[in-house]
């Protein structure tokens, strides 16, 4: 283990790696600070630019963007009451309150320190949990992988989406999109409509840029009226050790909630931040302070959303199932660079996994320094007028999509999926569920067919193997839970209505 970490450090501490992580974190902070550009969009925009890099360096850079964006999102949340990323949506409650009292520096400082502490802890949680889990994953055969994929999809359809039906429809749309291309077993073209472009299918990278980034840009073009400019000059004022120690309780809650939230597919930083804020408020000795400029109200969610950056990678690296939007982009990056996630990754290319671990640790430490320096540049970027930004981002997406395969086809897919994603957002469907369907489609399909080939068509393989049976039962309960809850709520309401 120590040996492997040293091996990883050798990769992560090369000058080129350090430079790319530095650029990644900076871009993450600035992208995160822009309202509407979430961490995953910032990563998606950078993705086509990482082609020339070594796979490990590219992954470290993208993880750096992810980490930086979590702090970046709190800058406009505190200064203009507009969260830069969904993960910072609760930070604005107490953050903006502090800003109005002239304590912006203190609020930014606590956010930065809490983010860094959360990020560093999450790397440790990642290393401690991912390595044993990857050994456990070795026991997984096709039946288990199929069941795991089904579990991931049902979890997101029922928890991340508010509406089970719409969540399920979104996930199934993704699965359908994943079937386009060449059949992985027989080699027959499916839904290719006689064209050669569709033979390779809709690549995950392209679909993700369209569904995440383009749909958000379309949303902003159609609805947004722009955001307020940030007046004045600000920088973070770092809290003293004693002040940090006072916040240990809320940061502990943030760590625990973030760790669990990160591992569940679809929960992600925003959900973790909300639950943490609520829990920290309930456990606090002075809950009345929350909402009136409590430093705990910043420390708790900011710790949680950065803990997610590491823990979301646990299911990704061990089983190939992303725990959040941004982890899904990392998965796309891995596929693009020919890195196959799963237990073999840990044994065959340890320098990639452990390099990523060390790289993330470095990224978190860099964020502490960069966050201090980057507040002013980030504010300047936020103050750029929206039309310039949108035009620039549109150009970056169009050219970036072309660059994926040096052909026009990807540009069309990006625009098409972008429009679809925009319509889905507008009518309450879940874009992340669709992306996960697209991502897991190949894994679910090929493992389903492989297990049936092995069992000669007998579907009992999925229930007779213990791990796969447990996973499928969990998946079924994830689907039934919202229905049970609805019935229970209705029963509870009825007596009051009768009175």
């Amino acid at each position: 283990m120590i040996e492997r970490l040293m091996l990883g450090a050798a990769v992560a501490l090369q000058p080129i790696s350090l430079l790319m992580v530095l650029l990644g974190v900076t871009w993450g902070i600035i992208g995160g600070a822009l309202p509407g550009i979430t961490g995953s969009i910032a990563m998606a925009l950078l993705l086509p630019l990482t082609f020339g890099l070594e796979p490990t360096v590219a992954l470290m850079m993208l993880a750096g963007v992810y980490i930086g964006s979590m702090f970046g999102g709190s800058i406009p949340a505190i200064l203009i009451r507009a969260p830069g990323t969904p993960g910072a949506a609760v930070t604005l409650i107490d953050g903006y309150e502090l800003h109005q009292r002239g304590k912006s520096g203190q609020a930014l400082g606590v956010s930065l320190v809490a983010s860094t502490i959360g990020g560093v802890l999450s790397v440790f949680i990642l290393v401690v949990l991912a390595v044993p889990l990857s050994k456990f994953a070795l026991a997984f055969g096709p039946a288990e992988y199929f069941a795991l994929g089904v579990l991931g999809l049902t979890l997101i359809a029922s928890f991340a989406a508010r509406d089970l039906t719409k969540g399920a429809i979104s996930a199934i749309l993704g699965l359908i999109l994943a079937t386009v291309g060449t059949d992985p077993f027989s080699g027959t073209p499916r839904f290719a409509f006689g064209t050669t472009d569709l033979l390779t299918g809709v690549s995950i990278v392209t679909g993700m840029i369209g569904l995440f980034a383009v749909s958000e840009i379309f949303h902003q073009i159609a609805e947004s009226e722009g955001w307020a400019a940030i007046q004045g000059r600000f920088s973070a004022r770092l809290p003293r050790i004693l002040e940090i120690w006072k916040l240990r309780g809320s940061m502990l809650i943030g760590t625990l909630v973030g760790a669990i939230g990160g591992m569940l597919p679809g929960a992600g930083g925003a959900v973790a931040a909300f639950i943490t804020y609520d829990t920290a408020k309930r456990w606090s000795k002075e809950p009345e302070k929350f909402g009136r400029g409590a430093l705990e109200g910043i420390a708790a969610p900011e710790t949680a959303n950065n803990v997610v950056t590491g823990t979301a990678l646990i299911p990704l690296l061990t089983f190939g199932i992303p725990g959040s939007n941004s982890a899904a982009i990392l998965l796309a990056a891995m596929m693009l660079h020919g890195v196959q996630p799963g237990p073999l990754l840990f044994s065959e290319t340890p320098q990639t996994v452990y390099g990523l671990f060390v790289g993330m640790l470095v990224a978190n430490l860099m964020m502490l320094v960069l966050g201090y320096l980057a507040v002013r540049p980030a504010v300047a970027v936020v103050n750029i007028k929206q039309p310039y930004l949108l035009a620039g981002i549109l150009g970056l997406i169009l050219v970036g999509a072309f660059a994926i395969n040096n052909r026009m086809f990807e540009v069309w897919i990006v625009l098409g999926t972008g429009l679809l994603g925009y319509a889905m957002r507008r009518y309450g469907y879940n874009v992340l569920a669709m992306v996960l369907g697209l991502v897991l489609g190949f894994m679910v399909e090929s493992n389903l067919r492989r297990s049936l080939l092995i069992s000669r068509g007998d579907p009992w393989v999925f229930l007779s193997r213990p791990i796969s049976c447990v996973l499928l039962v969990l998946a079924l309960s994830a689907l039934l839970w919202p229905i049970v809850r609805q019935i229970r709520d209705r029963k509870r309401k009825q007596p009051t209505e009768g009175e």
């Binding site: 630019l49 379309f218 073009i221 949108l390 035009a391 150009g395 660059a403």
Partner: protein, 78 residues
Amino acid sequence: VTRLAAILALAVGWALLLPKTGFLIVTPLLMVSVMGTMGIRSWWRLVGVSLAMTLVLYLVFVKALNVLLPMGPLGGLI
């Protein structure tokens, strides 16, 4: 929503024209029209920012990443 339809049409137009006219002609046009649609009225800024953005995209993708963007008739000049 009309604004979205306009910008979508511009993006589609960009994609249709790119293979024939080349990146260096069609991209500044896209930028000018997108920013114009979004409400920027100063001509000086429209042209300046568009050219600057095209230059940045060109340097990053064509020069640094060797992407084979269709260059069109202006390709020979650079």
